[in-house]
């Protein structure tokens, strides 16, 4: 029940950070990471994972 950002693909645009309802996303060395303990795949908040919906890089965020 968590998603993962592929660091090598992340452009560091920070769009996902602001949209996460669980504050699970933070910056780390220019790219962003998801805290698996906090990520709920947006269940109970939205129909779809917000980070994937707003990320401009296709396939940058994946299920683990």
């Amino acid at each position: 029940m968590a998603l993962k950002i592929i660091a090598s693909m992340c452009s560091g645009c920070s769009a996902c950070e602001a949209e996460c309802p669980n504050n699970a996303i933070r910056e780390k060395g220019g790219t962003f990471i998801i805290d698996p303990a906090k990520c709920t795949e947006c269940e109970g908040h939205f129909d779809a994972p917000q980070c994937i919906a707003v990320c401009p890089v296709d396939n940058c965020i994946k299920k683990v």
């Binding site: 645009c13 920070s14 602001a18 707003v54």
Partner: protein, 524 residues
Amino acid sequence: MSHTAFISIGDLRRGRPALGDAAPAGAGGCSSSGGAGKSSCGSSAGPEDMPAEIWDKVKNHPCYSEEAHHHFARMHVAVAPACNIQCHYCNRKYDCSNESRPGVVSQKLTPEQAVKKVLAVASAIPQMTVLGIAGPGDSLANPKKTFETMRLLQQHAPDIKLCLSTNGLALPDWVDEIVKYNVDHVTITINMVDPAVGEKIYPWIFHDHRRITGLEAARILHERQMLGLEMLTARGVLTKINSVLIPGVNDEHLIEVNRAVKARGAFLHNIMPLISEPEHGTFYGLTGQRGPTAQELKAVQDACAGGANLMRHCRQCRADAVGMLGEDRSDEFTLEKIEDLAVVYDLDKRRAYQQQVELQRQAQHQAKVDALAEAFDAGLADDGLKVLVAVASESQGLVNQHFGHATEFQIYEVGAGAATFVGHRRVDLYCQGGYGEDEQLPSIVQALADCHAVLVAKIGACPRDELKAAGIEPVDRYAHEFIEKAALAWFADYRERIASGAVVHQPRGDARIRQGAFTGTAAA
């Protein structure tokens, strides 16, 4: 009382105000509100054709007043990296192309770092009057960072005007906040008013917690842009519309966009050429979508004349640009450098300096008006002939730059009785370190290929010959004259030479707009 203060980033975090509780209203200078609302500090759109309160807002804004941009400076702070839409001309690895030049990545700042930077720049460059938040993403997709920066700045430097740039999607939600922070100007990038055109520019938007694609995405974006613009107009906030001219996609359509935004109260319309070099990695860059030529851009701008006022002096500045338009001093104010700076923000000193600048500008404007009156008196019959001339100018509206030192040329269209500014052409520096770089000349010739003459303060023998060979007349006999006067005098002479048979008038072709990152500084 003194408005001097020393401020550190720590102070900003603790919320210590720099100026006590005395927060006087915006800087004065030119007395436009007095008397009959007239003032002698004109611009091409001066107080004669503009209500006094609007003139007051634009007179020292380098982006809103063509004349002000020779005197006042602006800066952008890159506090807003996130974006809520995708544009085909953007690769966010390299900043937003609607306000930033791709190819140069901005240094992202926190609001506290941004304000420290603004204060450092404002103390070093007293003619810096405007702070803009223009990305690198969308300022309103980063509302916390954007408005926190503005809040801090109002507290510490109340004389600096605030503006922001947005794609408009989130705009209707933030109009109250924009008004609350006294934002003077908002720039909205609007590339279409028909969703069928929009669909070719925007692959998706993120709205209402959903990613939306296709026609629906463009329709929502269009509706939100129009609503936001109307709301700003109703609240008295000045708006500038940026449009990216994409040949074959929205070129004709921009005339309709111009009409639509004017009807909704837009103050200024800035039509910019698409930047689509493949190395920027944008969708358009990779699919071979080309940018417009100089004449294509001019044709669309000319077709919009009579609609919303057009801005012709845009330089497509990067999201962390610092200084006068057309120069970039951001290297002097990197985070590392400003961390060590002791900032002295002296409001009184800044005011005094800006008043000085305003006086200078009034004097200069008057001198220009006088010079022009004389030139017009020469009285030529209008036979409809119009040609473009390029001008090398460093400052003050004068023909006062050496050809080899120019990183950009100002382009004027001259005909009987009128010399009108139509834009800038950026070129590679011809003369580096005092000697001519011969391989640069062809790129300059390409950029000026639609011009009949180049007016310069001085020019070397070699570039002179090459320009002549390309059919462009190098002219240095009007050195240090006002540009319009020089252009009209050259034109009168040119017509005489046509009449006497000394030259045969030949129409010129098209010119190339220089793409890619800006590397030059204003004064070489």
